[in-house]
């Protein structure tokens, strides 16, 4: 948890969307940082604000959405005030992103080579031939066999795993400092998932990339992450290193998430679920946002939303229960 050289530092990020009923916050005061060669996993249910956080970092929040408050720093650059023209030089060059659906992330009408070289030509100004060499090198690097042939193939002739490799090659083409992976393995079958995760790990080592991994799959988190931020209803509810999070989850929501994951040795037991659903952003409950679903909810939880309380170990949890354990108020 050292703050030595964070590549990405997000502080108190508020992103909201304008609707007929006014501005509805989707991300509500999120702070975290990612260091060099580290992977931070952002975990949460659908609608918890994970993807909006990622798009805020990419500067791709489109109207009616808006970053209302907070700072996003990439190295020493403040991104929230960066002009669109400058931002385009950062996108693909310093931050890259891969998506959930490798099937739809590639333009069906262009060859693989054509699409990967777009980024290279754009940011490195290489000519056609040297770009092609670079692309084939990249394809080899992400483990695509017969790269020469794949270069001239169209996306529909490749399998899902291959396409995700292509997306990774595209993302890494300019050696970005930060890779944002938005559910990179959700659409893949399990054996391919493992391969893709292995590949991402290897690339992280080779290129010193920091990874922001967005997922709802705790298996992927255990496999990949150094630190984990658990998000619920637009806020981080727990922040910890991956080992302590799995060993001793502090927030009831994290506990619920872990309980609703099947475990290998506990057969016959009915899989637990967290009752209820994430509240819509325009109808947040008063007090703690998790209280209507929380099995430990107390009277205090109905009245006051707990701050992110820092524990001695450097872990953080947004729960009044933690305060009783001697946590210090952080915010």
């Amino acid at each position: 948890m050292s703050d030595m050289n964070p590549i990405l530092q997000v502080k108190d990020l508020h992103t909201s969307f304008k609707t007929n009923a006014g501005y509805v916050p989707s991300v509500n005061g999120v702070s975290f940082h990612v260091n060099k060669r580290q992977t931070l996993a952002v975990v949460g249910e659908s609608g918890s604000g994970k993807s909006v956080t990622a798009l805020s970092i990419m500067g791709l929040i489109e109207k009616p959405g808006k970053i209302e408050k907070g700072s996003i720093q990439l190295g020493k650059t403040e991104l929230t005030t960066t002009k669109e023209k400058e931002y385009r030089k950062i996108r693909g060059n310093e931050i890259a992103m891969i998506f959930q659906e490798p099937l739809t992330s590639l333009n069906p009408l262009f060859t693989i080579g054509n699409q990967i070289s777009e980024s290279i030509k754009l940011h490195q100004g290489l000519n056609k031939n040297s770009a092609k060499e670079k692309v084939i090198e990249l394809l080899n690097h992400v483990g695509i066999p017969r790269a020469e042939k794949i270069y001239d193939s169209y996306p529909h002739t490749l399998s899902g795993g291959m396409r995700q490799r292509v997306m990774i090659a595209m993302a890494l083409s300019c050696k970005p400092k930060l890779l944002i992976a938005d559910e990179p393995t959700t659409a893949l079958d399990v054996t391919i998932q493992a391969q893709i995760l292995e590949l991402m790990k290897k690339l992280k080592k080779d290129h010193d990339t920091a990874i922001l991994l967005i997922t709802h799959d705790l298996g992927v988190v255990a496999e990949m992450a150094d630190n984990v931020a658990v998000m619920y209803a637009g806020q981080i509810v727990e922040y910890a290193d991956v080992f302590s999070l799995f060993k001793d989850p502090k927030h009831p929501y994290t506990k619920g998430l872990l309980n609703s994951t099947p475990k290998f040795f506990e057969k016959n037991e009915k899989l637990e679920s967290i009752r209820g659903t994430v509240p819509p952003p325009n109808a947040m409950p008063s007090g703690c946002r998790f209280n209507p679903r929380c099995p430990f909810a107390m009277e205090k939880c109905m009245k006051e939303n707990p701050p992110l309380i820092e524990l001695d170990s450097g872990r953080k949890s947004r729960c009044w229960l933690v305060e009783d354990e001697g946590g210090n108020k952080n915010e």
């Binding site: 990419m58 791709l60 109207k63 931002y87 385009r88 030089k89 950062i90 996108r91 693909g92 060059n93 931050i95 890259a96 992103m97 998506f99 959930q100 659906e101 739809t104 992330s105 590639l106 333009n107 069906p108 009408l109 262009f110 777009e118 980024s119 754009l122 940011h123 483990g143 066999p145 042939k149 794949i150 001239d152 193939s153 169209y154 529909h156 002739t157 490749l158 399998s159 795993g161 291959m162 997306m167 595209m170 993302a171 083409s173 391919i192 391969q195």
Partner: protein, 298 residues
């Protein structure tokens, strides 16, 4: 790893001439369309050499002769003569020039305006979309023919004004379709992916969205070459289209309307010429759409 990929089909460069020719020969309808269009174009170009008579030559001794397969025909006029004794075959041959020129240029003009407006409107959305689509609505509120009549009355009927007028009245249909397609394609992930590598909006529009819109556009535009030729015909019928002695298929067709009950071939034969040409263009368009889409490869 090797088992995780399907064998990619044999890769060929899309741009090579031999590839295009091969694909044309493989598609039966495409080839037929290609032949028809080539023949019609050649006929239009070499009309003076092919036509047996001067199309404006009046012959009062041979009026309303039927085509060769009907009794009473004149062997000198294969497709018969009209009410002034003019040779219909020659008129159809000469008429192809103006009909093709007007039909195709007007569609190209309308298509260009429609694509630009539709792309910009669909891509930028919000107030840009509002303004452009209200403009489209107001165009739709005025009947095409009325709009064309007013314009032609102001600027005077001639082939260039006719092209511009038909183009300007017909772009709204393309704009709507292109906008709709753009709306759906811009939400696809590859557009987002292009953004994440820092591609400019203008390039995203032209490089990533436009090619994906083209297949619908090609289908619609080839179909509307027919309606354009017919619109020109109705304008000619109303007296503001192609002015004699210039000949167009639409013009011959509307001339023949008065004699439909007695000498049906006057109106029918140019109609057949329009049908065959349009069919050829549609076949060609279908093939072109498949050629441009790598997923259609077999």
């Amino acid at each position: 790893m090797a088992q995780s990929i399907e064998t990619p089909s044999v890769v060929q460069k899309k741009s090579s001439v031999s590839y295009v020719l091969k694909s044309l020969l493989k598609s039966k309808t495409g080839f037929a369309g290609f032949l028809i269009v080539i023949i019609v174009v050649l006929v239009a170009i070499f009309a003076p050499l092919l036509a047996p008579y001067d199309p404006a030559l009046i012959n009062p001794t041979k009026m309303l002769k039927p085509p060769f397969w009907i009794e009473g025909s004149d062997p000198a006029h294969l497709l018969g003569t009209d009410n002034l004794g003019r040779d219909i075959l020659s008129r159809i041959i000469y008429g192809s020039q103006v009909s093709l020129l007007v039909g195709i240029s007007a569609v190209v003009l309308a298509g260009i305006i429609g694509i630009v407006v539709g792309l910009v409107s669909g891509f930028y959305g919000r107030w840009v979309d509002m303004i452009l689509m209200r403009l489209v609505d107001s165009f739709l509120a005025i009947p095409n023919i009325l709009f064309a009549l007013v314009f032609l009355a102001i600027f005077g009927p001639s082939v260039p004004t006719l092209i511009v007028v038909i183009g300007v009245t017909n772009w709204v249909a393309y704009a709507r379709i292109v906008r709709g397609e753009t709306l759906s394609i811009k939400e696809r992930e590859f557009v987002k992916a292009a953004r994440t590598i820092g591609v400019k909006n203008s390039i995203i529009m032209v490089r990533h969205i436009l090619p994906n819109v083209m297949s619908s556009f090609i289908v619609i535009s080839t179909l509307s070459v027919a309606s354009t030729i017919l619109l020109e015909a109705s304008l000619s019928f109303l007296g503001l289209g192609i002015q004699p002695p210039t000949i167009s298929w639409g013009g011959i067709l509307s001339d023949g309307r008065d004699y439909l009950a007695t000498s049906w071939w006057l109106a029918t034969l140019p109609g057949v010429a329009i049908t065959i040409t349009v069919l050829g263009i549609i076949f060609l368009g279908d093939w072109l759409r498949d050629l441009l889409d790598p997923r259609m490869e077999k």
